[in-house]
């Protein structure tokens, strides 16, 4: 039975059920304003930060939270007794345009439960996005979910209208998927990702595709998860893999019972993900069968450095770009600053500080013109205890989303 609801009630239900998707990014597109409303900013823009410290950039909603699927971990699964609602395409357009003009948002992130059939659901999503682009002349950012199992021609139609597409893998292995989300299959997701990869252009999903994995709902190790990510980055040229700490919204004998979502683990995976994409690390540098999970006390890079102390200290005035990136506390921006500056002068510790290159964590691992920061030789235990305390402060104060290394 459908009860008439006002717009506010719908918005509350349909944003509440969309919030578990970790993606918030609005970057990667340079869509211009062709005499309508809005444009995209290549760097992305955060418009607000929610009470959980996550960036709000897009109006993140479901078209409907009704669903014919019954995925165990999902709040919207068919067997759950929750209030259901559905937006009309016009309603979504009205909210998007009015929020956008008031500068609340960068655009729309539209996902949906599956009603009637995957094709029907996909058609409704397309109808909404088409209206936004052609009736309201909206040129802001649109991220849409591709519905697993929908026809390829619908996916191609949608891809021409949006900036980013995503299909969530949700679980890192086929077995977990079979167990917890029997109606989703690896094949269906694979098909979506392949189509998007093959058609990607300036006019088709310009900001690329992304996916999400839930962390801690199934038994995989960090090694399994990262191997999966590395595979996805290589095979489908994904822009991002998002990791979402499992939050128990349903109880089911197949699901783990936990007190707190594994937020630190999620953060470690994000950090490692960055090491894969921007720092030149490979998964087997970071983890192996004997050591398949990250150290919860230390970030993966610091952990790696402590296990390879013989490779340090690195000389700031000589180390290559990738060697600089192996120094805890030095990221791509700082490494580039160092490379630029040392073309014209020899860098001292005091210069690093002036250039806003933090040495708080780097000081144990570098020399400047052959000089070490400490006068006495220091031990591994000394460095380790200092880094662990630094890292503890950071986890408490920074949250997990944007500043992954604070570099």
């Amino acid at each position: 039975m459908v009860i008439k609801m006002d717009l506010k009630e719908k918005l509350i239900i349909l944003s509440d059920s969309a919030k578990y998707d970790a993606s918030c990014s609005s970057s990667g597109s340079s869509r211009k304003n062709a005499n309508g409303v809005g444009n995209a900013a290549y760097s992305g823009i955060c418009h607000s930060f929610a009470n959980d410290g996550r960036c709000i950039s897009l109006l993140k909603i479901l078209m409907t939270n009704s669903c014919i699927f019954d995925c165990k971990y999902c709040i919207n699964r068919r067997s759950n007794n929750v209030k259901r609602a559905i937006f009309t395409p016009e309603e979504i357009c009205t909210i998007t345009i009015n929020f956008y003009k008031r500068n609340y948002i960068e655009g729309l992130f539209l996902s949906s439960g599956i009603i009637k059939s995957p094709d029907y659901t996909m058609e409704k999503i397309i109808e909404t996005v088409y209206l936004l682009r052609n009736k309201y002349h909206f040129n802001g950012y649109i991220h849409a979910k591709a519905i697993p199992g929908a026809s390829e021609y619908l996916l191609k139609k949608l891809g021409k209208l949006v900036d980013r597409l995503s299909a969530n893998i949700e679980l890192p292995s086929d077995n977990s998927l079979k167990l917890l989300a029997p109606q989703k299959s690896v094949n269906k997701i694979d098909k979506i990702m392949t189509t998007v990869k093959e058609n990607k252009s300036r006019f088709f999903v310009p900001a690329g595709q992304s996916t999400q994995m839930i962390i801690g709902a199934s038994s995989e190790t960090d090694l399994d998860i990262l191997n999966k990510s590395e595979h996805l980055y290589n095979k489908y040229e994904l822009k991002r893999v998002f990791y979402s700490a499992y939050i128990p919204v349903n109880s089911d004998k197949l699901l783990p019972t936990i007190k707190m979502p594994p937020l630190v683990r999620e953060n470690r995976l994000y950090q490692a993900d960055w090491l894969l994409r921007f720092y030149g690390y490979k998964v087997d540098n970071l983890l192996d069968k004997n050591n398949p999970n990250f150290n919860i006390l230390l970030d993966p890079k610091a952990d790696w450095a402590l296990r390879h102390l013989d490779e340090y200290p690195k000389e700031i005035n000589k180390a290559s770009y990738y060697d600089l990136l192996k120094i805890p506390g030095i990221g791509p921006k700082s490494a580039q600053k160092i490379i630029n500056a040392r073309k014209v002068f020899k860098i001292e510790f005091s210069d690093l500080k002036k250039m806003n290159v933090s040495i708080k964590r780097a000081m144990y691992f570098i020399t400047c013109n052959g000089k070490y920061y400490f006068n006495n030789a220091i031990s591994k235990g000394f460095i380790e205890s200092n880094l662990i305390l630094d890292s503890k402060e950071k986890i408490e104060s920074i949250g997990t989303q944007l500043t992954l290394f604070n570099e």
């Binding site: 918005l11 304003n33 930060f49 959980d52 008031r102 500056a341």
Partner: protein
């Protein structure tokens, strides 16, 4: 006595003045904006004629866009010595051209880069945090109170983004308005605004309420983290961020 040079409250005027001072061979003791300069007995004020726009053009042409971008952003900051930093930065830029960015051990270079980044970061944040309200007269109206004078950067952003809307942005502390009439942006002061009717459009309250509901709902309770929220969205902006008003 110290020699103080005065410019006329605009970036162009400052650049023009600096082009002349550089030719003088003697470094200035200070360069100040005429508008907020307070005369004192020890200063010897020097006025240079700044009329020949050809002269200015020629000077600007000797720098890359990167360099002009950097000094423009420094100009928008509130740093007490910004004029002297720009002067020394440009003097060195004549010698090093774009390689100037490598010379971070030169104080003026390091300061110029840091200040200009700081201004850029604040402008970027406000592109997100600024909130418009729709008025009865069809204007979208926003108030800001930034640390740096970023209203021009924001106006250039919204000129593209909301090019088919009327909008008005007010910098509350500096008393500057940026008014857009679907064609051009005009920068006005309090005195130049004849009347300003801030009566809200009938639907305004409804959409503000929808936004606040969305903002509260989209946070995951199990992950609540006010510290991270404050780090990313500093308190000094909350006054003008609709959804944070009740948290002050």
């Amino acid at each position: 006595m110290s020699n103080v040079y005065l410019y006329n409250n605009s970036f162009e005027s400052l650049m023009h003045l600096i082009s002349k001072i550089i030719l003088l061979k003697n470094n200035p003791d200070n360069i100040k904006n005429r508008v907020n300069y307070e005369p004192n007995l020890l200063d010897n004020i020097i006025d240079l004629e700044l009329k020949d726009t050809k002269e200015l053009k020629l000077f600007l042409n000797s720098f890359s866009l990167d360099i002009l971008h950097t000094v423009y952003y420094v100009y928008l900051s509130e740093n007490d010595n910004k004029e002297l930093i720009i002067y020394y930065f440009l003097k060195n830029a004549l010698k090093y051209h774009n390689e100037i960015y490598l010379h971070r051990n030169l104080k003026c270079v390091n300061m110029a880069i840091n200040i200009s980044n700081y201004v850029g970061r604040e402008a970027h944040k406000l592109k997100g945090f600024l909130r418009f309200k729709l008025l009865k007269n069809n204007f979208y109206y926003a108030e800001i109170s930034p640390t740096n004078n970023v209203i021009e950067i924001l106006s250039n952003h919204f000129k593209k983004r909301l090019k088919n809307e009327y909008w008005l942005i007010k910098d509350v502390n500096r008393n500057i308005y940026a008014l857009y009439d679907k064609k051009n942006v005009y920068y006005l002061t309090d005195k130049e605004i004849v009347s300003l009717n801030l009566e809200l459009d009938n639907k305004e309250e409804k959409f503000e309420d929808l936004w606040k509901s969305f903002f509260e709902t989209v946070a995951i309770k199990e992950r609540q983290n006010f510290k991270a929220q404050r780090n990313f969205m500093p308190k000094k902006y909350w006054n003008y961020i609709l959804e944070m008003e009740n948290r002050i």
